[in-house]
Symmetry: C2
Subunit: 364 residues, 2 copies
Amino acid sequence: MITLNVELDERSYPIFIGQNLFGDKSLIAPYVSGKQVVIVTNETIAPLYLDAVKKLFSDYQCETVILPDGEVYKTYDGILPIIDCLMENKFDRRVTLIALGGGVIGDMTGYAAAIYRRGVNFIQVPTTLLAQVDSSVGGKTGVNHPLGKNMIGAFHQPQCVLADTNTLDTLDDRQLSAGVAEVIKYALINSSQFYQWLSDNMSALINRESDALAYAIEFSCQDKANVVAADEREEGQRALLNLGHTFGHAIETGLGYGNCLHGEAVAIGMAMAADLSVRHGWIDSTVQQQIVSLITQANLPTQIPVVQGVRLSVQMLLELMAGDKKVLDGQLHLVLIDALGSSLITSDFNIEKLTETLQAFATE
Amino acid sequence: MITLNVELDERSYPIFIGQNLFGDKSLIAPYVSGKQVVIVTNETIAPLYLDAVKKLFSDYQCETVILPDGEVYKTYDGILPIIDCLMENKFDRRVTLIALGGGVIGDMTGYAAAIYRRGVNFIQVPTTLLAQVDSSVGGKTGVNHPLGKNMIGAFHQPQCVLADTNTLDTLDDRQLSAGVAEVIKYALINSSQFYQWLSDNMSALINRESDALAYAIEFSCQDKANVVAADEREEGQRALLNLGHTFGHAIETGLGYGNCLHGEAVAIGMAMAADLSVRHGWIDSTVQQQIVSLITQANLPTQIPVVQGVRLSVQMLLELMAGDKKVLDGQLHLVLIDALGSSLITSDFNIEKLTETLQAFATE
């Protein structure tokens, strides 16, 4: 087992990464302060891991909330079953919520923990690659609004993160690839070395070789932990982690939540960021091809799909992007690429070139 | 104008108390960082003060949300009109929300500011005595759950508080008295001197004499600022501010939100705290009579009313109290009185004596 620490003063916490972590009560016990626990999971994960995780809490009053599975349920009212369970059991401020599932469960459970009695503890137990490398670390919690993704939420750090790599065995191929999209993101943001490692080991990752998975998770978590420690509330460089996300959120929202996986949308978004970076002459087309090729090796899309007949025009994409969080006083900030393994946050891009990129990717 | 400061490191902020504060753009301008503002108010306050407050923001893009008036609307879904307005206008993280109204508007607006894009700025402009002396200071924001008051929320400090005492001219007598309940609370918590001042000046307060009001507001805000600065997240002594509130919340929830004003419920709750304190021998009945007499002078109730035929039994009150925030691992903490002008937080009370107090106040 590997232990990484996210250094945030009194909000610091460890990330445990390894196999068979659900077998050891003593690992998690120091991070549960009260005697009351609520495990929040979904219909897909419950039959697989709920019993094992419940056993970790056999010494506690332990309740369970099982939500429907999917991004489409990550809504404002979607967290009410968690709040209702807490209220009906009269759970006090010392309750700990356990988020057992992927990014959606982590975001919703963390948000419920942030607002119940003005904030109670929670623990992330991510069961998807995407959640293990990204969404379970960093304290961003929240739900979607019909007009934009993650627009309602809170910064609320977990007590610890328990990433059991065994849970990836039951992940379907499409979900695994979606997680690899966020792994690629870390390479593109700040490590040409990790890019090279990914190029050499992509088939091992996709074939779930445990050493390759463990290294990819460790590198990604360590990278994210460093970025978050330096800028917890995204007032500066943390925004680098949004590479591919401004385009990606527009695609996800435009196609309807759940019609395109978050990781898939981020993959397309990274391809769009590469395209726009080439148009500015910041990278040459060879680098773009390398990026697109790596994304493709991961069985991820690099073009916006047409789902259930929904086509996205330039105008729709622009409007959805302007509704994105990366807008400050009407000025759009984008994360773009200036070398293989190096990205930057900038508002200094040409709007006509942005339109050209959108034209190249729009499906209508 | 008086300026008090709430000292909370980088979250410190001033409280401005005085007359005609809405006439001076320069007072509030330093506390608005972006160019976008949303004023949130209600149907009662809008015709009275919205135009004046809008003029303060004539240099900004200024939108308005007018909510229905009353505690019954302080619900989870009740804040959605604020969020929808923010989303429809694509307001970014630098937007400032302005809470123009009483405690309900302040709590709802502050909560919306806490969760929109994981937190944006807000300013409190309280227009009731209760909000000026209590709810607008201290950063507690939130909404009610059907099973308990303020159970969903966040700690989120305002950028500043603008308490214009002129707004009290339009407050009805019942609302004014409800505000005086929280003023009395500060005397009972930690100042026999202020208790004496209130005894001598209660009729001046009730008759809205401006000097008396200004002093009561200043004393209360200064007292609250000190308590909050020492214990922002209520991990210790801040709970003293809950004197009368554990009983009071049970009464409010039991009678149905809006059927008993918050301040009225707190007044009854303080009378119950005095009763229970006498039963423990911590104060004698003379002190209890002094407290009850001061509450009565303020035209406030000291007995639980029967509203629309709803009667509260001992069992109902106990259950509603056990659902209150002051429960830690199943143990009820109460704020009780140990001298005139002195209170304490304790779980060391006799449950039979508590039952006797509830029997004395129950209406069924």
